[in-house]
Symmetry: C2
Subunit: 454 residues, 2 copies
């Protein structure tokens, strides 16, 4: 018998994300009778998504209802699940900020907007404590690592971050000539910072095939291939990270890597592909934004055209995202292994329990039970995982307890910072921006130097 639930989607104006989610929930017959509130602060972006959802369910004859909301209370009230895909200011804001940050010597920006995103996530989680304290929060918007860690620490809400980056294992398998369906893989760490520890194909260790591919095929692969903007799993940077650390980076992990991959477009082209310079170069990222715009237009136009058959333009197939499988597992005790972001609680050795890690977990009516995955090798722990954790702690601290000194520390730590003055100026400029007004105001009240000892 199906279980009817209430789902609230925050930031539902993200048309591509929501279209996938709508499709998935309409297909999830075990959740028949459910209701979804689509919430966004931007009505122009939200309304077409709501229309799309209603018409898609009707076409498919799915027993799911949708309403839309501009305020959060309506989405969170009585919710069993909240999916948060909101992004502070949207892509336009980030692009504008990036441009001004580049003027200060930070090629491709600094991501200071993370502070605002973590604060946005926290305010959603705090509202949930009040309005739906028993609900699960499925965090889709970034930064998943910092945000989920902050929310788990600061609220009593059950938080799980979900990302599709780990599917990079399938691409790896395909490139090695394996059938992705026959491969099992374990990639662990933090969101966007996961490493392949186990890789088996029909019961046989497939890790040695990576070394073989690197030695024999990789150069030809890079020479002959014209990578798309989404293409980083098998980039030269991924192999170099593998050589430096001994474990293969999976999914978005490769996008970051070290500072030396990102000094300029030339470096990006060398490490991520001649044509685009990877996902995050000025070329790759514009391609991504352009394709995103195209898809949004396609959804908006389809929603506006009452004669359009939505299930033809958007075939009723599962998106492959884990959100609905997770909800189904928790609600209907459908026991599945998913890749989740939840507090560590000993899953990865050497990481505090209150840090959110990305690991495989059994999901069922019992909840989310991460597998104990043991230790990562020293090279990975000391050079990537623990430094990444410190970076996260700085951003989290900055979001929770704004302090210009912590922002200075983040800026000074960045390899692109060439002088103390550059850091001081950039720090001042960030805090002077209107959207950082609240942060700057709180920072003015940060503990004075010697306060903690008293």
């Amino acid at each position: 018998m199906p279980s009817a639930i209430k789902v609230g989607v925050i930031g539902a104006g993200s048309a591509t994300f929501s279209a996938g989610l709508v499709r998935d929930i309409c297909l999830q017959r075990s959740l028949a009778g459910s209701h979804v509130t689509l919430m966004d602060i931007d009505e122009d972006r939200l309304a077409p998504v709501h229309t799309f959802a209603q018409r898609y369910a009707a076409e498919l004859g799915a027993d799911v209802t949708f309403d839309m909301a501009l305020d959060r209370e309506q989405a969170l009230g009585d919710a069993d699940f909240v999916i948060n895909t909101a992004m502070y200011g949207g892509h336009d804001y980030v692009e504008g900020l990036r441009e001004r940050t580049e003027d200060r010597g930070y090629y491709r920006g600094f991501r200071v907007e993370q502070i605002l995103n973590i604060r946005l996530m926290l305010s959603v989680a705090r509202d949930m404590e009040r309005l739906c304290p028993e609900a699960w929060l499925i965090q889709a918007g970034n930064p998943v690592f910092e945000g989920c860690t902050a929310m788990s620490r600061e609220t009593g809400v059950k938080v799980c971050g979900i990302c599709h980056g780990h599917y990079g294992c399938r691409e790896l398998a395909g490139t090695l000539g394996l059938d992705p369906e026959k491969v099992t893989a374990q990639a662990i760490g933090f969101n966007h910072c996961i490493f392949l520890t186990h890789f088996e194909c029909e019961g046989r260790d497939a890790l040695p095939l990576i070394d073989e591919w690197v030695a024999r095929d990789s150069e030809a692969f890079w020479r002959d291939r014209r990578p798309g903007y989404w293409d980083n799993q098998m980039a030269r940077a991924a192999v170099e990270i593998y050589k430096l650390l001994g474990l293969f980076p999976i999914g978005d992990t490769t996008r970051k890597g070290g500072w030396w991959f990102h000094t300029d477009l030339e470096a990006k082209k060398r490490w991520y592909g001649e044509e685009l310079g990877g996902f995050d170069s000025e070329i790759g990222w514009s391609e991504y934004l352009r394709s995103l715009d195209e898809e949004v237009s396609r959804i908006h136009e389809a929603a506006a055209d009452e004669s359009a058959k939505l299930t033809e333009a958007f075939p009723p197939e599962p998106s492959g995202e884990q959100h609905l499988p997770l909800i189904d597992a928790l609600v209907n005790d459908n026991r599945v292994e998913l890749q989740v972001n939840v507090p560590n609680h000993g899953a990865i050795e050497g990481i505090p329990d209150d840090v959110v890690v990305e690991v495989p977990a059994l999901c069922s009516a019992r909840g989310i039970q991460p597998y104990h995955v043991g230790r990562l090798p020293d090279l990975v722990m000391v050079n990537v995982i623990l430094p990444r954790l410190l970076e996260a702690e700085r951003w989290i601290h900055l979001a929770l307890r704004p302090d210009a000194r912590m922002l200075m520390a983040i800026i000074l730590e960045d390899h692109r910072t060439k002088s103390y003055e550059q850091a001081e100026q950039f720090c001042r400029e960030v805090l002077a921006r209107p959207e950082f007004g609240e942060v700057a105001e709180e920072a003015r009240h940060a503990a004075p130097a010697t306060e903690h000892q008293r």
Copy 2:
């Protein structure tokens, strides 16, 4: 009744260190009847120290005997205490290495010799396990932090690192116009990385006086003063670190600070004093080496001149170093508070138990009992203490389990590294140096990429 003990001094050819130690042990009447073996691999440096020691004891009528040894077994056999002040290759070696490293873009060197020093310390501790397993090892040579952590982890020897950097608290007190004798201070962290958490003068909190001095007197202080090479406690860099972290850095802590203090001589002059650019600039360091040479000549000449009255040239006053007070406390149950470097065991929260921290401890016949000092503020933990720990872990790993990848990680992490090629070249060059032959050989057998999972 005095307790006669046997002390072995490794690297006793360091004349200035040994002259202080000889004076201290001759003055320590509670250890009358003791014997000291002075050991060094360089007989030309060792013999004058031995002569100095014998004549000094005779002049003073101290009941202490000395012999000298070129091999370690003689110094360690039956030892109750081993004091290790040895330094791989000595200052000449380090200066030569520094010069060649500067050619590669690393102003003032890279300190890769740390690997050799940690390995040297470990080999002493391993010999002690065999020859004097019950003895205490007092580590004086650098790097104290990495070396003591590695030795405590890898051997069963009782290790305590001793340094005089924390006496910077006295200089701070004096600068603020306080009587250093009336001040109590707590400065904690890692060796050469300690921060003032408590500072009281006759029972009153003296921390606010720092803020007053910074606001009112610091600029005049820096303008009027002609600092000596040893002068970093009250440098502009110290105050800037204080502003960034909220706790005042003590002693050698200021010498490191952030990369931005050390980009070139101009930066060093700005932050550490116009004249010399601080202890570690090319000017300050030559001054230091010159004064060291002078003192060594003075000791050598005094030892060679049989008519010289040593107790006149080297008055019989305690050096102020903690080595003899520590030995006396452990042997004779003289209960004193000393600043020690021992495994954490919960003294500082948030640091693993097997990491050696610098904290105050009660020293007595019971052993060394560090005080529980609690948490350091986030700004200090996340921006200095934990990054410094990761740096230490890299060097320790490199010394214990040489791996070119770990050396690459250290080089790439350095803010002075401008490109991946520079790092690769420097890494290759280090491992090609003859004194790194053993390290390079072991590195060739480092675990292959995917080995750990098998």
